[in-house]
């Protein structure tokens, strides 16, 4: 018993000594040998543990960077929101510049400052006043069309009545001059606040939905030809002697930020073709974009067709099937020397047959050309009803 215990202790000490010697040997390994040993262990039985550790490290990095990433995402979101508003503002300003270039002179650009009171939807403050040439009853316009009219003027700013104001009126007509009326805000509750009524249209004049309505120029305040809105539908009123139409306005009061105030001296010179030119410029730009797309598409198709033709001709020259044709037999895809020689021989034979066919066709064509038509017996020269019948024969 005592001897067994002593033997076990000796065995334990031997194993301990061996392990320590091995560990010291590993410690004493030169650097050039340590790395291969460690790498070998990492790549074999320790690979799952190393993978677990890598996953954990990545998880920790993700946790540590979560706040920074969230802040970055927030910044990006904020930037994208600003970009959208900047794009729309840029578009508005570009249109305004286009309108300015058409008007050429006699206008005052101004910023529209929306209030926050009860009458937000009907009036607006403009950042230009009498010092800039603005006077009372000066028309206020936007690239899309009519906005309102100046009703109060200060030296540095002015107050404008939008078309949504209950007192606002403008003489309107269809562009062809067949229908006239008075445009005013459609004041039937909250839902109708941003629509326009065209009242007093003669009963004989009918307007189709989608028709454009512009200012008529009567009354001396508004020049002729400024877009007001498009016809939505006719509405029933108590006035039996005239028609009333509902219009969708060209300008939404909530979207008015940059406007132009027309000076009184500019009104007398007329505005013929100004909005048509703006619209034509937009349409021309769209046509350019569309035609550019079509040209690019046609060029791409032509290039693809040319490339396919080149590939087909190369395939025919090599004796292989053209692009898109499936190989008929497995031999067609065989690349051995015998198969290549057989394909070459078949190609030569096919070329000889084609040459023979072409020669035969040419000689036949020459014969047909040298034979007079009037000498060729007509196939229908013999009447079939003159052929004697044998009794019992089927026809």
């Amino acid at each position: 018993m005592h001897r067994t215990l002593r033997s076990n202790t000796r065995f334990d000490l031997i194993v301990l000594s061996t392990c320590i010697v091995l560990a010291l040997a590993a410690r004493a390994l030169p650097d050039t040998m340590r790395e291969p040993v460690a790498t070998g262990m990492r790549r074999t039985f320790l690979a799952p543990l190393v993978m677990l550790q890598e996953s954990a490290e990545r998880g920790r990095q993700s946790l540590l960077q979560a706040d920074a990433k969230q802040a970055y995402l927030d910044s990006l979101s904020l930037g994208s929101m600003k970009a959208r508003s900047l794009e729309s503002e840029n578009d508005r300003l570009r249109k305004l510049i286009g309108l300015g270039s058409q008007l050429r002179w006699g206008f005052v650009p101004a910023e529209a400052l929306h209030g926050r009171g009860v009458r937000d939807e009907t009036t607006v403050i403009l950042s230009a006043g009498s010092r800039a040439g603005v006077s009372r009853l000066s028309p206020v316009i936007a690239p899309e069309g009519l906005v309102g009219v100046v009703d109060q003027v200060d030296p540095t700013m002015s107050h404008a009545m939008l078309w949504t104001h209950p007192d606002f009126r403008v003489s309107a007509m269809s562009p062809d001059g067949t229908a006239f009326g008075i445009a005013q805000a459609h004041l039937t509750g909250a839902t109708g606040g941003y629509l326009i009524e065209l009242r007093g249209v003669p009963f004989r004049s009918t307007l189709k939905p989608g028709s454009l309505i512009v200012s008529s120029g009567w009354g001396g305040v508004w020049p002729r030809g400024i877009p007001i809105g498009t016809v939505l539908q006719e509405i029933k009123t108590s006035e039996g002697w005239a028609r009333t139409y509902l219009l969708r306005p060209e300008v939404n009061p909530a979207d008015v930020y940059s406007v132009m105030i027309l000076r009184r001296d500019r009104l007398a010179k007329g505005f013929d073709g100004v909005w048509q030119s703006v619209a034509q410029a937009d349409q021309a730009a769209q046509r350019i974009v569309v035609s550019g797309d079509s040209a690019a598409k046609a060029a791409a198709l032509a290039e693809a067709a040319a490339r396919r033709a080149v590939i087909d001709s190369m395939a025919r020259a090599n004796g292989a099937a053209p692009l898109g044709a499936t190989p008929a037999t497995p031999e067609a895809t065989d690349t051995s020397a015998a198969a290549v020689a057989a394909r070459a021989a078949a190609a030569r034979a096919a070329a000889q047959r084609a040459a023979a066919r072409r020669a035969a066709a040419d000689s036949a064509a020459r014969r047909a050309d040298t034979t007079r038509r009037d000498t060729v017996p007509r196939r229908d020269s013999v009447r079939t009803d003159t052929i004697p019948h044998r009794p019992g024969a089927t026809r």
Partner: protein, 162 residues
């Protein structure tokens, strides 16, 4: 130890090893817990000293393989710690959490002393700081986590009733 107890001990050992390579890097503490030491100590008290020395040697090589510059240092330290823990199991390992905590603390601290001295990478004041500040802190964290895991894994680690 019967077969069921051996299987449970092996499962516990593997759980500690996996925790060492998942939870420890995930937490990334300056004074980290050492699940490999816990695994070694829990295994050592269940086997004879020679086996504990071999387990320590293998575990040490495993930990050294991720730090090739110190290859062998961890193997030496874990061999000695495993052998010592198995040799002293009758003294320390009892059904007392405080004793177990002290056992874990001592095992980790001794391992760190052997490891950093054998590694010879840290020297001077920095070595003293490591051995007298960070190593005891790490040993304390290891002891606390070890006691917590012992408490949680008690059904797995206790011998099956006869």
């Amino acid at each position: 130890m019967n077969l069921g107890g051996a299987i449970r001990a092996i499962i516990s050992f593997l759980i500690f090893v996996v925790l060492h390579y998942t939870l420890r890097p995930l937490l990334g503490w300056r004074a980290p817990m050492d699940f490999l030491i816990l695994a070694l100590l829990l295994a050592s008290v269940r086997v004879r000293p020679a086996t504990a020395a071999v387990i320590g040697f293998v575990l040490g090589l495993v930990s050294d393989s991720l730090a090739p510059d110190a290859l062998g240092a961890g193997a030496i330290a874990m061999t000695i710690v495993g052998f010592g823990a198995s040799y002293l199991k009758a003294v320390f390992f009892a059904d007392n959490l405080v004793l177990n905590a002290f056992f874990f603390f001592l095992g980790k601290w001794v391992f760190d002393i052997l490891y950093f001295v054998g590694e010879q990478r840290v020297k001077g004041v920095e070595l003293l700081q490591q051995l007298l500040l960070w190593s005891p802190l790490s040993a304390a964290v290891t002891a606390a986590v070890g006691v917590l895991l012992l408490f949680m894994m008690r059904p797995l680690l206790e011998p099956a009733p006869a």
